[in-house]
Subunit: 365 residues, 2 copies
Amino acid sequence: MKRFVIDPWGFFLLKDYKKLIGQYGIEPLTPRMLSKLPEPNRLMRRGIVFAHTDFEKIIDCILEGRDYYALTGIMPTHETIHFGNKSVIENMVYFQEHGARTFVLVADLEAAATRGISLGESRRRALDFHIPAYLALGLDPKKTIFYFQSENQAVKNLAFCFAKRVTISEFKAIYGSVDAGRIMSALLQAGDILFPQLEKAMPGVIPVGVDQSPHLRLCRDVVRRTKRNFGFVLPAGLYHKFTPSLQGEMKMSKSIPGSFIGIPEEPERVRKKLMDALSGGRKSVEEQRRLGGRPERCMIFELYKHHLIESDEELDEIFQECRKGTRLCGECKAYAADLMERFLKDFGRRMERARKLVPKLTFVR
Amino acid sequence: MKRFVIDPWGFFLLKDYKKLIGQYGIEPLTPRMLSKLPEPNRLMRRGIVFAHTDFEKIIDCILEGRDYYALTGIMPTHETIHFGNKSVIENMVYFQEHGARTFVLVADLEAAATRGISLGESRRRALDFHIPAYLALGLDPKKTIFYFQSENQAVKNLAFCFAKRVTISEFKAIYGSVDAGRIMSALLQAGDILFPQLEKAMPGVIPVGVDQSPHLRLCRDVVRRTKRNFGFVLPAGLYHKFTPSLQGEMKMSKSIPGSFIGIPEEPERVRKKLMDALSGGRKSVEEQRRLGGRPERCMIFELYKHHLIESDEELDEIFQECRKGTRLCGECKAYAADLMERFLKDFGRRMERARKLVPKLTFVR
């Protein structure tokens, strides 16, 4: 049995991701690097985590048992999360189980600065939904350090201390257009990313969707430019492919309802969306039996690969059956809907338990 | 005796100040308004406070004993203050003695964002020099609320909440050019100005050099645009003329050493600078005795008027003597140097006492 399954089915959208490699300090995550990681998770084994910046030093920390941290944020702009968030959280759990100090911040000030959402509203959403969801997806409430940006003096102070180190043109180069909210959010994110190092400079890893890499790039520039003042270690990035939309676009989009499955979402609606999803099926059953399906361009298969099927053997079996034409789209979609329903039900039960833990959490100030 | 001496000698630079009236919401401070104020101070009586925005409501608060506040900031970019700061502090003292809750903030985050000064360095300067200087100039340590921007969660949060309400073009229109530091500082200043209203919405007055009026204008725009979210009362501005440079420019400038007297500064150097200052004297003693001096264009007279002579009668006497040619520049400069030396010595003694009070201050967080 091969241990590392580096996106073996993966020419789907690969071109778009390949374009990013080499830009903005994004390097490919090689099989050699992955082979060093103890117990790589599904996302690592399957090339969904496909690129990185400076991740070698995180591997060293894991292997040598040295201090490092992992950090991610909650953006309370919506009242659900998406499958991209789920992947990030799963990697956070991986790092937490492999020695990382884990930090999760609520980006309430960013939500205020860029979307005009009040701090009170963000707080309510985070406590009612996002934080329990992050716990439901596997973060250990005892080992995870949570904070609200609005309650963290040090993070905000860092944002102001970094302001002189980045020019407007640099913000523009990274974000296209700028406004005060984006500028302040970008500097605040740099503050978040480096906050764990205020106590002690150490390597840290930020798992993100690849669209977030500009933030890490800006943060790394800030680290270089404040070397004498702060002496931070350059943070590492680990980049995810997006969970593709059910119609086959690169990314699920909340603005296209049929493209998207929320966490949580009504099982019946989810089943309907999956039934309507783009598959790699042929024009007719007869043709599919004769020529075989095309799992490499099937959104249902993408969901299996990213989220629904843990076992590499089972995933490979489905792939082969589809290719041979012995597995047809109808039954396959029904199976995916069953798995999704099971995941969402399980998530609901975990949420109930997690909500009871929230009042016991202490938030860093 | 006339009670209100509205810049009776004051055509010096008046043209430049007059230009500002009507712009940016700057209105003239009229004799009628001043006549309502109880015990107007030297700066008010002499037209050094010459303009305002919305100051009528502060007058009403004073007369009716209603709650209001006065606020100013310490910018710890230098290790001395200037005579412009002194005027602002004197007005803060006036408001403190006339019912205002008084707030003084240390703009350590602004110093970091715009000048790259570390928070530690700003803190040291503020505690060693600026805060005791503000007490030495008359603020009551028991009645003044001090805080550091870096320690005030609420002020920083307001800055982020305001970010979405101001466009880059508006920052540009106000400041000419923009960078991240200026944008963040401007929003933070709006946060400072409105912080006292978080507990309870009420009128407030910000006494500033007239060059600072754009900050107040931006803050007032923010108040209008966040009416539904925060319901702040529009803050009022009270604008000062600058203490002119010793060579006759509009403003003392730290970059031209001879233009400027610091607080504190070596008495011998001060005497030398005053002796070299631009006066309203004539080419010769003979001519001056015959034609009289021109106190309206004399920098020594400006210093008397702004800072050195408290009694309106004495000031008027000097003015008349100079005009008549009975008072010559040499003796007049020597007198100014004596008064300045007395002020600086007195300041030094008050600083010693004030420094002992600093450890007992509590800072709002």
